[in-house]
Amino acid sequence: MNASLNLLIGLAMGLNLLALGSSRLPSLIRAMSLQGVVLGVMPLLLEQGADWRVGLVALATVVGKGVVIPSLLRRAMRAAHIDREMEPFIGFVPSLLLGAAGTIAAVALARALPLLPEHQGLLLVPGSIASVLTGFILLIGRAKAISQVCGYLILENGIYLFGLLLIHSTPLLVESGILLDLTVGVFVIGIIVDRIQRAFDSLDTRKLTVLRE
């Protein structure tokens, strides 16, 4: 079971690199939504007996991250008539290298952390740290607002992965709270994206600097 779980996490880490390396926004959104689906399946593997609550969490995650949010983003992308990240702050190759370095550092760091014995053999902790770092690289290195939303979601995926460590002790309410938080965040950013588009006729966040005092 641990092997299949590690396989899924490895897949998620690969998707991180895919997200970093893709210049076209549809492929970035696809990588992000695929990662959401992979993560959504994981609680079912972690839990031995089929608990209806865990199933509910898994279903909500898969639907939310794999279907609802990507379709919202695609619609925003079509409305704004953009599908490419033109001038990133950090280029795609440097982003990839940074992401790879971050992944290696995450594995090294996870070894140094004092983990519980049942989590020793899992890739959960390095995977989550690598996802958080990927999210940060996207947030820092991309100029288009939609890429940044994707970065934010990947960061959230990393936090979710870390939360899986605690799935036994985290009540359902907290889980659904995290999910709700995520959805609201995406909605808010969707509205902001719309506003930026209308105010500046572009989604380039560099133009926001004219708003400082």
Binding site: A112, A143, Q148, V210
Partner: protein, 649 residues
């Protein structure tokens, strides 16, 4: 007890004034008058031998139960607050007329009421939290009063400087009271004898209260604020609010043990303030700025008294400390009275001529004899000339210093030079006020405005007359006022209370009376002798010239030229202009300006340095979201690294 109803009436009257201030000025004045008289009666009843008054509310206010206390020290300062508060209110109605300043006159009334209430709160509060609230309220209301005339740029600049400096003081006091409450376990204030762990906190109090009192290196805000405020506000600022700093120092040096050597520091700061304050005053050409620097000087004299009293306590409670403290405290009253009188007279000059620069005045005594006479009286009092009140308090400080010099031990070595410097201060102040009286009131008018000056209204003149009478009364009958001073001294140091009027003071009172009688007789004789004579009227400063002009008179700068030269090491006067060059000189000019050295040479460069550093730091805030996220990431990484390494070690 009678104090409670009196203070209730006072609070009620002032609150009524606060509410009535928006409407009619008459109702406001009546309510303020009633409230202040009740407060004055309460303070006098405590000073005249009644016991301390204390009241604690059953309900909490801001988390702490209200604790008020009126003892010898607070009653002593309350008397001054009441006198100047009501004098300024009456004077202000004539000076800052409704017709001339319709909007700011109303604001001035309201803020005046707030100022009186909050100052009363500072004096009565016996809880650190309420003290701080009242203190902040008083700072803010004084700021609004200073900037009543805020359409002028220099008034706004002075207001900002005042606000900034006051808040530096508030910050220090906040730290002081918080530390006090932490170490004593409660916000309640009261005597803490033998709690030596509290002693180091006194340095914070010295900074906070000293900044507010305007002692020498911390006086940077004072000249600009006092010069640019309306004159009745200047009188209040100089006469009363500076004394709140003194009140804080006296209060807390009496209640808690002070660090070893504090007395020396306070006395040293006092001597520096006295000598340098008068030196800076000599270099000024603006009448009100000059008076403001004299406040620094007089605060110095008060601090010399307080400092040597602290030295005496350190030396085991020597009796000369009592005289020094009594002199310092009496000088609080005296300075309040004559400085208010001088600022009122300066305001009357400003009101009549529209000018504050002495180079545009001159010959005013013809047009404004009352103002001129009362200004001269105030000048004599501030210079410490007998038989006026300034001499009484300085005499007590001198007595303390001389007794200390005669006693054996280390204080003798410091008291003697301090006495000499105090004497030099008096002489320099005399020179300075001869300059002011001569340039402003004597000679020929230097401008049309000065030539057409008219006397001020009866309310302004009446207030000045009353203040002048108070100056004379303390000068002629110091023994009448001694019990109040003795009560305050006894509240500061119980061992010093009790015994009767010191013999030198009785002798001084008699000598003053004799001097006054002689002066009146001599004046009467002169008047009789001159009555039958033939009078010849001529221009002043004629000097035999065929066509003299007013510009041939001594200016304020040239009169004090030699004296300012002596102090040029600290005054740093700026000279401009060109002298006459060849046997047939063409155009030549000369002007001299004394800057506020501490502000312009120390505080402003430091401020510019901080500003430059802030501009560099401000580049970090550029509006790019991506970089902000990078800051967050870096911050989190550093924190994580710190926690991990901490956990390992």
């Amino acid at each position: 007890m009678t104090v409670t109803p009196l203070l209730c009436i006072a609070a009620g009257g002032l609150l009524t004034g606060l509410l009535a201030g928006r409407g009619s000025g008459g109702v406001w004045l009546a309510a303020t008058l009633a409230g202040v008289s009740a407060a004055l009666a309460a303070a006098v009843s405590v000073l005249a031998g009644g016991g301390d008054w204390e009241w604690r509310s059953g309900f909490p206010l801001g988390g702490e139960s209200l604790h008020l206390r009126l003892d010898g020290i607070s009653a002593f300062f309350l008397v001054l607050l009441c006198l100047i508060g009501v004098a300024g209110a009456v004077y202000g109605r004539g000076y800052w007329e409704e017709a001339m300043h319709p909007r700011s006159a109303r604001a001035g009334r309201i803020w005046w009421s707030v100022l009186l209430l909050s100052l009363g709160g500072v004096l009565l509060a016996s809880n650190g939290l309420h003290f701080l609230v009242a203190w902040e309220l008083f700072t803010l209301s004084a700021y609004f009063l200073v900037t009543l005339d805020r359409h002028r740029t220099e008034v706004r600049a002075a207001g900002w400087l005042y606000l900034g400096a006051s808040h530096a003081a508030v910050l220090a006091l906040f730290a002081f009271f918080v530390q006090l409450s932490v170490r004593t376990g409660s916000w309640d204030l009261g005597p803490w004898p033998r709690r030596t762990e509290l002693a180091p906190l006194f340095w914070l109090a010295l900074f906070g209260f000293g900044l507010k009192a305007g002692l020498f290196p911390l006086h940077v805000w004072l000249p600009a604020a006092h010069a640019n405020a309306p004159s009745h506000v200047s009188a209040m600022l100089s006469g009363v609010t500076l004394k709140m700093g003194i009140y804080g120092l006296v209060r807390f040096s009496g209640w808690m043990p002070v660090p070893l050597g504090t007395g020396w520091v306070v006395a040293g700061l006092g001597v520096a303030s006295a000598v340098l304050g008068v030196a800076f005053a000599l270099g000024q050409h603006d009448l009100k700025r000059l008076l403001a620097y004299h406040s620094v000087e007089n605060i110095g004299i008060i601090l010399i008294g307080l400092g040597f009293a602290l030295v005496a306590i350190e030396q085991g409670g020597a009796a000369w400390g009592k005289l020094a403290l009594a002199g310092g405290l009496l000088h609080v009253w005296n300075h309040g009275l004559f400085k208010a009188l001088l600022f009122f007279a300066a305001g009357s000059v400003r009101h009549a001529t529209g000018a504050r620069e002495m180079s545009r005045l001159g010959g005013l005594w013809r047009g404004m004899p009352w103002t001129a006479g009362l200004f001269a009286l105030g000048s004599a009092a501030i210079c410490g000339l007998p038989p006026l009140n300034g001499f009484v308090s300085e005499w007590l400080v001198f007595l303390g210093l001389i007794d200390a010099s005669l006693a054996h031990g280390s204080p003798a070595w410091a008291a003697f030079p301090a006495a000499i410097l105090l004497g030099a201060t008096g002489a320099l102040a005399l020179a300075c006020f001869i300059k002011v009286c001569g340039v402003v009131f004597l000679g020929a008018p230097r401008s049309m405005a000065a030539a057409q000056a008219h006397e001020c209204g009866p309310s302004m003149c009446g207030v000045m007359l009353l203040l002048g009478a108070a100056c004379i009364a303390i000068g002629l009958a110091p023994v009448v006022f001694w019990p109040a001073v003795a009560r305050a001294v006894g509240a500061w140091q119980p061992a010093w209370g009790g015994d009767g009027i010191p013999a030198p003071l009785v002798a001084l009172g008699r000598a003053h009376l004799a001097l006054a009688v002689l002066a009146v007789l001599a004046g009467w004789g002169l008047w009789r002798k001159s009555r039958g004579q033939h009078w010849v009227h001529a221009r002043t400063w004629d000097c035999g010239y065929a066509a003299p002009t007013a510009r041939m008179q001594y200016t304020a700068g040239s009169f004090a030229g030699i004296l300012t030269e002596w102090f040029s090491w600290i005054l740093r006067p700026e000279r401009h202009g060109t002298g006459p060059a060849n046997p047939f000189p063409a155009h030549s000019s000369h002007s001299i300006h004394t800057p506020e050295t501490v502000l312009e040479k120390i505080v402003e460069p430091a401020g510019r340095l901080i500003l430059r550093a802030s501009i560099v730091v401000r580049r970090l805030q550029h509006g790019r979201v991506q970089s902000y996220i990078l800051y967050v990431l870096v911050g989190l990484t550093v924190l994580a690294g710190w926690i991990l390494t901490e956990g390992r070690s």
